[in-house]
């Protein structure tokens, strides 16, 4: 299908290029450089089919190489985007839930014991639900790092696995002693359980959360990173330039204006590169929006939730610690300064995230509700300093509107709702970003094969003219 152009006066008008009539060569005027020119002409004349073959092989390889690089790059980005949605985000969420479940389990169990020998059914159920949730999250986190998964088992997970049954064992022992009427012995076992929680479980769970959160950040960065996609696009431009020059060379040597094979290959390359670029830009925008509007605020809120749990946990520890001189009033002050509200604090940052939405509204509610809870905490530590344990206990574990338990519950509920709202945003955007790569990998492979076929077709037609 090679179109031969009518090039008036050209010796090649009716003859394939390179197969110049012998007379034409001899017609050239002789001179001092004649032998060299003749050699060059012979070389060029003899090399044209070879050149075509070399060009064909080169373009085939370039097309396949581009296809391979493009498919690999898309696979990497799509995998990272998928990892964000299906693995890293759920694992980060599991790690966060595990920390909060463990902390809440200890607060619930200790509070129930402080309430008296008749442990309320609701408290028992909440403790059991917390432990079950923590075990579920632990299992999910361990499964995700199973051999062959390519993920590293966070060191803290082993610690949590080992210490969780120890903790529940001490709580069970405490419950048994309580049930038998040995309240003080039960209380001392509860203290031992709390030590396991605060010294071993919570630090390990926090380390796991930090590691999984870092994994989420790394997966997001991999999904939105520029280097490889830029290399593939530059490679596409390079191949496009080569295709253009080959076509121009063919036109000059054969006076065929259009080589349909190479033109089609160029068009396929352009379409593939455009799809790749658009998909990447869309995915990147979605993922970055998800991180900026969902994941980042959710991380700030998760940190705020952990701080809230710490204030509550310390308050309970302070209450049950009657045999030493430990006080957590200084810790309360420092965590409160980090939590806020106030300029640069977690709650103020979360409430001021842009754009405003359900997450920021709930964060603002938490910033508002935390103030009366702080006031109750101030009162709790004043009573503790005066050794007025009975009043302190009532204030800490009571269920009335002015109790710390009520204030903590309100702030925790606000933060849970805010985190859930931000996670919905993140999940939707990250899913959209991941979906932008749908079919692209196969598309790039098909495009590369099509390019290769078109190049082979376009150049083989020219080669056929020399047989």
């Amino acid at each position: 299908m090679t179109v031969r152009s009518a090039s008036p006066g050209s010796p090649a008008a009716s003859q394939p290029a390179g197969q110049h009539p012998a007379g034409a060569a001899h017609a050239a005027s002789p001179g001092p450089a004649a032998p060299r020119r003749r050699a060059g002409r012979r070389l060029r004349s003899a090399a044209t089919p070879t050149r075509l073959r070399v060009l064909m092989i080169g373009l085939l390889l370039a097309a396949l190489a581009w296809g391979a690089a493009g498919a690999w790059t898309v696979a990497q980005h799509a995998s990272a985007a998928r990892d964000v949605v299906t693995t890293s985000e759920p694992l980060s969420l599991s790690a966060q839930q595990m920390y909060r479940s463990l902390s809440d389990a200890d607060v619930t169990a200790t509070t129930a014991f402080l309430a008296g020998p008749d442990v309320p059914l609701a408290a028992r159920q909440r403790y059991q639900a917390d432990i079950a949730q923590a075990a579920t999250d632990l299992s999910a986190l361990k499964d995700a790092a199973a051999p062959g998964s390519g993920r590293t088992l966070p060191a803290g997970l082993t610690t949590v696995s080992t210490a969780l049954p120890v903790y529940t064992g001490y709580v069970a022992q405490a419950q048994t002693e309580y049930a038998l009427g040995y309240l003080l012995t039960g209380g001392s076992f509860m203290q031992v359980a709390s030590e396991v929680m605060h010294l071993t479980l919570l630090p390990a769970a926090r380390a796991v959360y930090g590691q999984e959160n870092a994994g989420l950040t790394a997966a997001s960065a991999r999904a939105t990173g520029l280097p490889w996609i830029a290399v593939v696009l530059v490679l596409a431009i390079g191949i496009g330039v080569v295709l253009y020059r080959v076509q121009r060379w063919l036109w000059r040597h054969s006076h065929r204006v259009v080589n349909y094979g190479l033109v089609t290959a160029t068009a396929v390359l352009a379409a593939g590169a455009l799809w790749l670029a658009v998909a990447f830009v869309v995915a990147r925008a979605d993922l970055q929006r998800g991180v900026g509007h969902g994941s980042a605020p959710a991380e700030t809120l998760a940190q705020a939730a952990i701080d809230t749990q710490q204030i509550r946990g310390d308050e309970i520890l302070n209450l049950i610690s009657r045999s030493g001189d430990a006080t957590f009033v200084a810790d309360f002050g420092s965590v409160r300064a980090q939590l806020g509200p106030g300029p640069g604090t977690l709650l103020t940052n979360a409430a001021g995230s842009s754009p405003a939405g359900a997450g920021t509204l709930w964060a603002a509610a938490a910033a508002r509700d935390v103030q009366p809870w702080y006031a109750v905490n101030d009162q709790v530590y004043r009573l503790d300093a005066q050794a007025r344990y009975a009043q302190e206990t009532r204030l800490v574990i009571g269920s009335g509107p002015g109790s710390s338990a009520t204030g903590f519950g309100r702030v925790e509920a606000d933060l849970s709702r805010a985190i859930a709202a931000d996670q919905v945003i993140f999940h939707a955007d990250a899913t959209a970003g991941s979906d932008a790569f749908s079919g692209l990998e196969a598309g790039i492979i098909v495009a590369a094969l099509l390019m290769a076929l078109c190049c082979a077709w376009g150049l083989s037609v020219r080669l056929a003219e020399y047989r």
Partner: protein
């Protein structure tokens, strides 16, 4: 156990305990010596050296006034056996002992109460290692009572006496527990500790267990907000409680058992206390050991356990371990070695009757000694 008995035989020939001298010498009693000896390196097999380092070393102990007399006896005996080690002792109260051990200003903080979970979370390097079994008696000053009569009291009645709702000794609630005893109409004068005290922790724990009202209104701790009772007195240390009670007819006071001999010598009465099963018991070796035995198998690895009001039918209700609060991080290898060697000595050789008998403490049960050794081995 066999090991302990071998050690007991070995120390039987050792120098007698200079308890009185140790007690009277007050804080920082043991003399220093610069004699350098080179004891053979040896170990208990569990990573605990049986002998101190060769270089002279001073270990400092401060805290519980209840443990102070025994610690003085141990310091003197240990120095006699290992002249390179000098142990200074001070009766400053359990709270101060815990603080000093936390701050690293004392090698050993002595405490009648285990470390709270708050203390351990604040300072995870701390260990509480039982040294001996103790108990707490309730003394009273009722001069008209015939000798040999022990008033029966329970936690609920004591709570009312300390709350000021029982104001005289012939109150019907006390009389109901002591049928046939002619109770005087003396005014009840409750004495409590002015310092942060493990004894207060133990006593208020007992009251909280037996009296829901006390638990609801006051609670328990090393310090509590004592109800305002006319005439109530605050005393410093166990010695202050004994002397204060001796000077105040009608008093009721909680006192560590190492001061029982002194209290009896001061003609104070000793109450029989109700245990969980309603049996009234005096703090004797039999009742104290019976109370502790029921907790041995349940004692956790870090030996934090409340033994107040245990399940033993014939057990005395207020028993406890006397604890050494120590840090696993010592300033040097020699200090760590000396501390480990001394603590191991204290819970084995030092638990012999010749030491504990003087202060009416009881030896640690064998399985508890093993738990102690496991903790001592962590010191480094």
């Amino acid at each position: 156990m066999a090991q302990r008995y071998r050690v007991l035989l070995a120390v039987a020939a050792a120098v007698p305990v200079m308890l009185a001298a140790a007690c009277s010498s007050g804080p920082g009693s043991a003399q220093a010596t610069n004699e350098v000896t080179a004891p053979p390196a040896s170990s208990s097999g569990g990573g605990i050296p049986l002998t101190p380092a060769a270089a002279p070393q001073t270990l400092s102990e401060t805290g519980s006034t209840l443990l102070f007399p025994l610690m003085g006896a141990w310091a003197a005996a240990y120095h006699q056996q290992h002249p390179s080690v000098t142990i200074t002792t001070a009766a400053t109260g359990s709270g101060t002992g815990i603080k000093a051990a936390s701050a690293g200003t004392a090698s050993i903080g002595a405490s009648d109460a285990y470390l709270s979970s708050g203390d351990l979370v604040k300072n995870p390097a701390l260990l509480n290692i039982p040294l001996a079994v103790s108990a707490q008696q309730v003394n009273y000053n009722l001069p008209e009572l015939p000798p040999g009569v022990h008033i029966k009291l329970d936690g609920a009645v004591l709570a009312q006496m300390y709350a000021g709702t029982i104001t005289t000794w012939n109150d019907p609630a006390i009389a109901a527990l002591n049928r046939g005893v002619a109770l005087p109409s003396l005014r009840v004068v409750p004495l409590h500790r002015s310092d942060g005290s493990g004894d207060t922790f133990l006593f208020t724990s007992y009251l909280s267990t037996h009296s829901a009202g006390w638990n609801r209104l006051i609670g328990y701790g090393t310090s509590v907000a004592w109800p305002a009772v006319p005439g109530a007195q605050a005393e410093q240390g166990n010695a202050g409680m004994v002397s204060g009670c001796q000077a105040t007819p009608g008093c009721v006071a909680y006192v560590g058992i190492s001061y029982l001999s002194r209290a009896l010598a001061d003609r104070l009465g000793e109450a029989q206390l109700a245990n969980t099963l309603g049996q009234y018991e005096l703090p004797t070796p039999v009742t104290i050991s019976a109370a502790v035995a029921s907790f041995v198998s349940a004692t956790p690895g870090n030996e934090t356990i409340s033994m107040v009001d245990g399940p033993a039918a014939a057990g005395y209700p207020i028993v406890n371990y006397e604890y050494a609060i120590v840090s696993v991080r010592q300033p040097g290898a020699a200090a760590a070695r000396d501390l480990k060697a001394f603590l191991h000595w204290a819970i084995t050789t030092g638990n012999a009757a010749q030491y504990l008998g003087q202060v009416r403490f009881q030896p640690l049960p064998g399985p508890v000694v093993a738990l102690c050794d496991a903790q001592i081995a962590k010191i480094g």
